[in-house]
Amino acid sequence: AQSVTQLDSHVSVSEGTPVLLRCNYSSSYSPSLFWYVQHPNKGLQLLLKYTSAATLVKGINGFEAEFKKSETSFHLTKPSAHMSDAAEYFCVATGTASKLTFGTGTRLQVTL
């Protein structure tokens, strides 16, 4: 069985400051990991994915994430937040038949 834990339900940052959204996973095998973003009344958009290649993964809109097996973490970062980054972020692991195991989500608020 696998599980995904997003350590913060809400994160608030000022525009132009770094973003860190934390995610830990538990799996009996090396999973594929994804970060998705969901803006209000929208579907989920893929930000980036890790599939056992490079441990530092670059995604869209300046986001990146680093897979750390020793820490079972896959934290999402961005050097400088923009107002348009305000959204819900989901850390996701995949198992069999590409079924997704979702974290509970982190709501990112960006203030002026």
Binding site: K42, G43, L46, K49, T94, K99
Partner: protein
């Protein structure tokens, strides 16, 4: 260009009145999924099709059915909607049922029950 299209974006129905939600895709993906997402929660998988093979999640109520008449279209039928079925319904696709394949989501249909 939208690749996974859900219609309508907002649907209102009456308690107990059957409703059908629609999803189409231009990606020619083999797998199509339906999720239910309630407020401030992660999406919950209801079922998925691999090609024509239907795969129901064990805890999906019998009230929820699905049809996939061809590769491009998939429908979610709610036979007798209850107040607890009010939610956002998300359709997603993936090329294969493979853990490395990301899923591509539509913008969802928000269902309200009167």
């Amino acid at each position: 260009d939208a690749m996974v299209i859900q219609n309508p974006r907002y649907q209102v129905t009456q308690f107990g009145k059957p409703v059908t939600l629609s999803c189409s895709q231009t990606l020619n993906h083999n797998v199509m999924y339906w999720y239910q997402q309630k407020s401030s929660q992660a999406p919950k998988l209801l079922f998925h099709y691999y090609d024509k093979d239907f795969n129901n999640e064990a805890d999906t109520p019998d009230n929820f059915q699905s049809r996939r008449p061809n590769t491009s279209f998939c429908f979610l039928d709610i036979r007798s909607p209850g107040l607890g079925d009010a939610a956002m319904y998300l359709c997603a696709t993936s090329r294969e049922a493979d853990s490395n394949q990301p899923q591509h989501f539509g913008d969802g249909t928000r269902l309200s029950i009167l």
